[in-house]
Symmetry: C2
Subunit: 243 residues, 2 copies
Amino acid sequence: MTYELHYWPTIQGRGEFVHLALEAAGAHYLDVARGPESQGQGVQALQRLLHDKAEVHPPFAPPVLKDGAMVVAQTATILQYLAPTLKLVARNEGARIWTQQIQLTIADMVAEAHDTHHPVGVDLSYEDQQPEALRRASGFCRQRIPKFITWFETILARNPAGPRHLVAGRLSYVDLSLFQLVEGLQYAFPRAAAAALAGAPRVVDLHGRVAALPRVAAYLSSDRRLPFNEQGIFRRYPVLDLA
Amino acid sequence: MTYELHYWPTIQGRGEFVHLALEAAGAHYLDVARGPESQGQGVQALQRLLHDKAEVHPPFAPPVLKDGAMVVAQTATILQYLAPTLKLVARNEGARIWTQQIQLTIADMVAEAHDTHHPVGVDLSYEDQQPEALRRASGFCRQRIPKFITWFETILARNPAGPRHLVAGRLSYVDLSLFQLVEGLQYAFPRAAAAALAGAPRVVDLHGRVAALPRVAAYLSSDRRLPFNEQGIFRRYPVLDLA
């Protein structure tokens, strides 16, 4: 069975967390909106899915995963759905709950990173809310980045199975998501991220080991991995990097 | 076994979604931070839990549920953990994934509602960001409330088991959460909520039926239910109610 991932074709965005899980597991999947419209793919296929009046589980927003008749949206829910099959989560229920709790905390930080450049409205451009963005980024860089990164460092340090993974002694989807979060922070807020990561050696180590996983490394150097840009969640506006 | 719910004692906030699930199921639980400090409860007990250096699963933020040795944070994860025991979710995996997807969409809207009064910083007061709040609330009331409410109406209309519940033909935790979301919108944005709900009869009907559930009705009229106020997520600032 080939999974279908439906996401905007020009940005990493939230879809990237799903990409990383699929790639790290070596799963077969189709990145539908980046495929050719002549073969029923492209952005039109994504739009058809979003507006399909026959779909009983209509997605509110991308990313969306299709697995046969199963249609799942919300990044954390997609990961939770995929993880047992992709062997990216522990078997016991307590570990699964903890894994999802970490993922939702990563999602909270992703949303806050997004809001640094869109503090007053998603339907306005960054240029229309630049002064507000400066105020929001100040708190994000100076309070929120350190607070979140310290929490990730703490839970790595307290993992009874050791600090190589966030949950138990094996790779799980939250290790991949934390890698992507660090990547995004380093792109968008290089000075603020460096300051926070200077005190988080276990987070830095995990980030490096994820990047070096053979399948992840192959993905990152392929053209399937889009570069960061200023249309996505993590945008490099140097004026907002308030270390 | 008595559950312990740890949440700020003076606001409904995100803790309210957990309260409603516990109350609707008739579960025994202790609302720890509202208990007497003389009995080891109160805000100090919450603070101890948040800063417990021996906790291997330290919460990033309240609400936190303790169930014996199990410590769970993140509202949606707490609900997911509790729901099978409280019989507030369907048994099959597909329905559980759909339920969690709806809960995360409710959580997204809750976060956006919060950001109407705190668009540029959680560590600043509303009064320090009032002009920005006005801009943010405009988009929330005019675009986001209608978009979210329309989605809830659509998924009720498309539920193969009928429009009385969001998932399948029985009460689940997302019905309770949607009730609370509507309550909050009606408190904070009475005009904008009324405008959106005028086109969403199934949402209005579900809200009314949840309020009339005997255990929920008993809870809502008890002093265990805190009133909305201007320290929580849903705040009544009439100037932000931009219908």
